[in-house]
Each structure stands twice: as C-alpha cells, then as structure tokens.
C-alpha cells in the first residue's frame, strides 16, 4: 500500500489535508530536502512538491527522476505557478529528442 505526500509551505498544503493526503509543511528548500529523502525511503509513491520549494531543489528532483518511486510532481503553490513544471516537460522532450520540437 502506497501513500501520497504533499510537501510545501504551510498555507499551500493546508487544503490537501482535507483530502486525506499526508501533508508535510516546509518553509524553505533546506528544511524540505531531508523530508523529501525521508519520504522517498518510506514508500510514498507520489510526492507533490510546490514549485516555490522546487526552485531550490533541482538536484534532489533530478535524483528521483529516473526512479520508479517516488514520482515528484510539481504543483503551483499559493503564490501561483513559476512555470517550472512546464519547463520540466520541455526538458524531458529535449532529453528524448535532442531538441524542443513542440
């Protein structure tokens, strides 16, 4: 049985708690980093991460990109979208094709 985690600043993740997801508030990438590693070890299949935090955690996200679990999915925080999630799709295309063809 796998679980779903939401990692982000307190105000952004509060709403997900009502849905029954496991919520982990973190205010900065530095506090989020150890939490992410712990989640990855504890059998969380999906970790939703706010883009605001993801901006400072490039290396951690890249590390889990090629692993089956966890899937780290970026979501916009309460300050709105930074476009990192879309950027990642673009990078994936560039990685596969060698050029951005979309």
């Amino acid at each position: 049985m796998y679980r779903i985690a939401v990692l982000g600043d307190k105000d952004s993740v509060l709403g997900f708690k009502a849905l029954g997801l496991d919520v982990f508030p973190a205010d900065s990438p530095d506090t989020a980093r150890p939490i992410l590693h712990r989640l990855a070890k504890q059998g969380y299949a999906i970790v939703y991460l706010t883009e605001q935090l993801a901006a400072g955690m490039g290396a951690e996200i890249a590390r889990y990109k090629d692993e089956l679990t966890p899937a780290i999915i970026l979501i916009p925080g309460k300050e709105g979208s930074l476009g990192i999630g879309m950027e990642q799709i673009k990078t994936a295309v560039e990685r596969a094709v060698g050029a951005d063809i979309l």
Partner: protein, 229 residues
Amino acid sequence: MPSTTINPTRMELTRLKGRLKTAQRGHKLLKDKRDELMKQFMDVVRENRALRRRVEEALIRAHGSFTVASALMSPEMLEQALMCPKQSVELDMTFENVMSVDVPRYEFRTKQDDPAQIYPYGFAQTSGELDDAVSEMASVFQDMLKLAQIEKTSQLLAEEIEKTRRRVNALEYVKIPQMQENIKYITMKLDENERANTIRLMKVKDMILKEALEEKRAETAKAAGMSAN
C-alpha cells in the same frame, strides 16, 4: 588504419564478420525500438502538457478560494477545521510495460465515497468559502493523480529514449564503421600475403631452374672437353 591493433588472420576475419552481422541486426532492432518509443512518448507528452495546464489552473483557483477563506476566518480556526480529515486516500500502484519500460499505473481508493462527506468540520463555525475551496481541491485531485502518472511515464520514457538513441548512434557511427574498416584491413592484409607468397614461389622456382640450367651447362662443357681430348 584500424585504431587498435588486430591480428590479420582468417580466424579474426570470421569472428569480425559475425560480430558485424550481429551489430547490424542489433542496430536495426534498436532503431525500431527508438522510433516506436518516440511515437508513444510524443502522445504522452502532448497529454502531459494539456493536463498540467489544466491542473495548474485549477489549483491556482483553489488556492485563491483558500486565500479568501483564510481572510474570513482566523488562522487558528482554519487549521482546526482542517486538522482531522475524514477522508483518506489509499494508493495502489501497478506497473505497465511500455516497450520494456516499466511505467506506474496508479489506482486510488478513498475511504469516503460520498462527495458531500469530505468536509472534516461542522458548518456552524466555518465560512462558506472554505467549503468551496475544499470542494475545488477535491475535484482537481483526480486530475492531479492522472498528472502524476503521466508525468512519471514521460520522464521514464524520456530516459529510455535517450539511452536507446545513444546506443543506436554508437552502433551506427562508431561500432559498425570500425568493424567494417577492420574487416577491410584484414582482407587487404591477407590478399597482400597471398600475393607475396605467389611471388616468393615464382622467385624460388626461377632460382631452382637457374641452378639446374647452370649445372646442365657445366656438365655439357665438361663432356665437350673430354671428347676434344
């Protein structure tokens, strides 16, 4: 010249020819794999983009509702209202094999099936905006799960395509030309040896003939001298 030293022998030639054949077959297969992966990947990526756009918009809207709700309620009240969720989600993960890449398939079960039962608080002390926010969150959640599945799939496929592409290129531009060059080198060397051998034999034959001729000549000269005496 071949880059590494190879033995110009017939055995090496046979071995190389066999390897070349295998490499060419492997190259063709990998190329087919790459093309099919690419086709699947393109579909996944298009869906991924559309879905991400939709989820981001919906989430930003939901966050907006939350902001309104938190403006109307004190932070303590808000937290208290959401502290003990009624709903809980269990996730099942199975794997699907797409062109030898394992991609996850998520299936989730919620404890509460009734969408009206997700509010973990009484309605008396909370504002109506909070209800909107929670219901918006709940409606976007389905899409978020799908997004997770598709995004992970696209990442894993991208990795596999990159690997396959590298292999195809390595075979096409490095390995196969190298082997062909080696084969050419060995054939030339063997032909050269063959010619050298023939020439040597001709030369030896000439020498033997010349020796025999001189012997014969000496004998006739001797015989002529004796008959003259």
